[in-house]
Amino acid sequence: MGTKTPVPAIDGWFTMDAERPALLGTRCTGCGSYFFPRETFFCRNPDCTGRTFEEVELSRRGIVWSYTNNCYQPPAPYVSPDPFVPYTIAAVELPAEQMVVLGQMVPGVDVDDLAVGQEVELVLSTLFEDDEHEYLVWNWKPVEG
């Protein structure tokens, strides 16, 4: 990262740990259900009326459930570089939380590099920048070896 100040593209969705970042979700203290993005008001399990939640870091590694790419520039509010650069998106299953979380793959990973069932881990990458800041977002990255 350059001389610009790194800031999260959205507050409170992930830790800003440059080495080992994690998504921030919540867990209902009543039934144990996980939520990402965070649920803090009322538990969505129909058999639970929980109103207290603990903040939790979600598993940093998961298994690719499916993947695709985007070959055309999406509409705003996506902030696209000019010219547009295609990117890859993966749906990743977190075994411990038993949930699937979407994320862009790190730049440079193409669909041909991916397979369902492959292990990936969470990193932070620059989503877009302005004159002073780099706005970071979570990405999935293939686990080496």
Binding site: A9, I10, C28, C31, G32, S33, Y34, F35, F36, P37, R44, N45, P46, D47, C48, W65, S66, Y67, T68, N69, N70, C71, Y72, P74, P75, A76, P77, Y78, V79, S80, Y87, I89, A91, A96, E97, Q98, M99, V100, V101, L102, G103, Q104, V111, A115, V116, G117, L127, V137
Partner: protein, 395 residues
């Protein structure tokens, strides 16, 4: 059986990019449906509008907008938005008005005028709206989600991109005989494979366009129908169910699925549950069907619906397609209208248009795309944010 209502008349404005106000399309479809029903505007006691969020305030209050355009006469109206499922919701509201005895005759109408290109979220800075955030943080368009399902089919069931293309070839052939379809041209597997990749593995010709269009249905009580016609097409079920927690398939516009840690998996995934609720209500099953209109937002998604409807076992949709079972003339034709492949999506009108198509087949009025001997048909569809949509019609 006492909960059935009659489809007295159906009408559509052809799909296309006409560039006119959506109200005009709605009026045209309504006039066609009223003429088909043989009733006048004065006979209509209730108007259920399916809303569009793209056409300003009149779109958000479609029931009143159409009622005003047709001439205020003091009847009750409703307006509802459930994304792609708006039409089924409007049908359901109108049915409730009829079954509760509030009115004998109800008009259900949906119309849209669409912009070019990808559907975009509602404008402004909206960091609390998951639909806004998925574009902002992920660049996840609608085809992103369709492509995730398509890739999953390839990996889990061995589907190929040629299979996906064959869905389009079939639907394009069906649509040739449909005067309301926007695209009426045969297409080959090679042409589809040569079209540019939008979201791997889906190509431009695998993904449905967005269209202008309108559809209207005139519904009535069975008593009223018996006085006006013989052997009307009847609505036997309208399923508008939500998912059951935990929803374990990633759905537009979400960032994640629900967590299954605390509860285990639900009895059936959402799309299976949409069909199941319709079958339960009608007292029918997949073996009773003669045709289906499914929401082929992408070619691959049509294959998912075969399994959700129970037309075949999980993983066998490609075989059903390849064997010609879902082609007109086959065992269980799917999308004889040509589907979204030939129409493009006019969101508030589409679920209503599906019912129009089934009605024509059940009456034997579908021309060169007629499914012979059709007596029972089903529509299925799903709206953003957890709106199920399935209608069973019978005769």
């Amino acid at each position: 059986m006492s909960n059935e209502i009659a489809v007295l008349g159906v009408g559509m404005h052809p799909w296309g990019k006409w560039g006119r106000n959506f109200v005009e399309y709605g009026i045209e479809a309504t006039q066609a449906a009223l003429a088909d029903a043989g009733v006048g505007w004065r006979d209509v006691g209730f108007v259920a509008g399916a809303d569009t969020i793209r056409n300003g305030y009149p779109g958000f209050i479609a029931g009143a907008t159409f009622a005003q355009a047709l001439g205020w006469k003091g009847n009750r109206v409703s307006s509802c938005y459930a994304a792609c499922a708006s039409g089924a919701q409007a049908l359901n509201i109108a049915r409730a008005q009829i079954l509760s005895g509030q009115t004998d005759v109800a008009l259900v109408v949906g119309a849209d005028t669409t912009p070019k290109g990808f559907f975009a979220p509602v404008g402004g800075d909206r960091p609390d709206d998951p639909d806004w955030l998925r574009f902002r943080l992920l660049g996840a368009t609608n085809p992103t989600y369709f492509a995730l399902y398509a890739r999953r089919r390839m990996d889990v069931y061995g589907a190929t991109v040629e299979d996906f293309a064959r869905v389009k070839v079939k639907n394009a052939r069906h649509g040739l005989a449909n005067p309301n379809a926007r695209y009426r041209k045969e297409v080959t597997v090679e042409e589809i494979m040569a079209s540019p990749v939008v979201a791997s593995p889906l190509r431009l010709l695998d993904i449905c366009a967005t269209s202008d269009g309108a559809a209207a249905v005139v519904l009535s009580s069975m008593e009223y129908a018996r006085r006006h016609t013989t052997e009307p097409v009847r609505i036997a079920a309208i399923s508008t169910v939500t998912p059951t927690y935990p929803q374990t398939v990633i759905e537009m516009p979400n960032f994640s699925t629900d967590s299954a840690v605390a509860t285990g998996l639900p009895d059936r995934p959402f799309r299976d549950a949409i069909a199941h609720a319709a079958y339960e209500e009608a007292g029918l099953g997949p073996d009773d069907l003669h045709l289906a209109e499914v929401y082929d937002l992408s070619t691959a998604l049509e294959l998912d619906w075969y399994e959700n409807l129970g037309l075949c076992k999980e993983g066998e949709a490609e075989k059903l397609l390849r064997d010609g079972d879902t082609t007109v003339g086959g065992r269980i034709p799917v999308n004889p209208s040509g589907g979204l492949a030939c129409f493009g999506e006019a969101i508030p009108a589409q679920a209503i248009a599906q019912v129009c198509e089934l009605t024509w087949h059940l009456r034997g009025e579908a021309g060169d795309r007629q499914v012979e001997g059709a007596r029972v048909g089903i529509t299925i569809n799903q709206g953003l944010f957890g709106h199920g949509s399935s209608v069973i019609v019978r005769r």
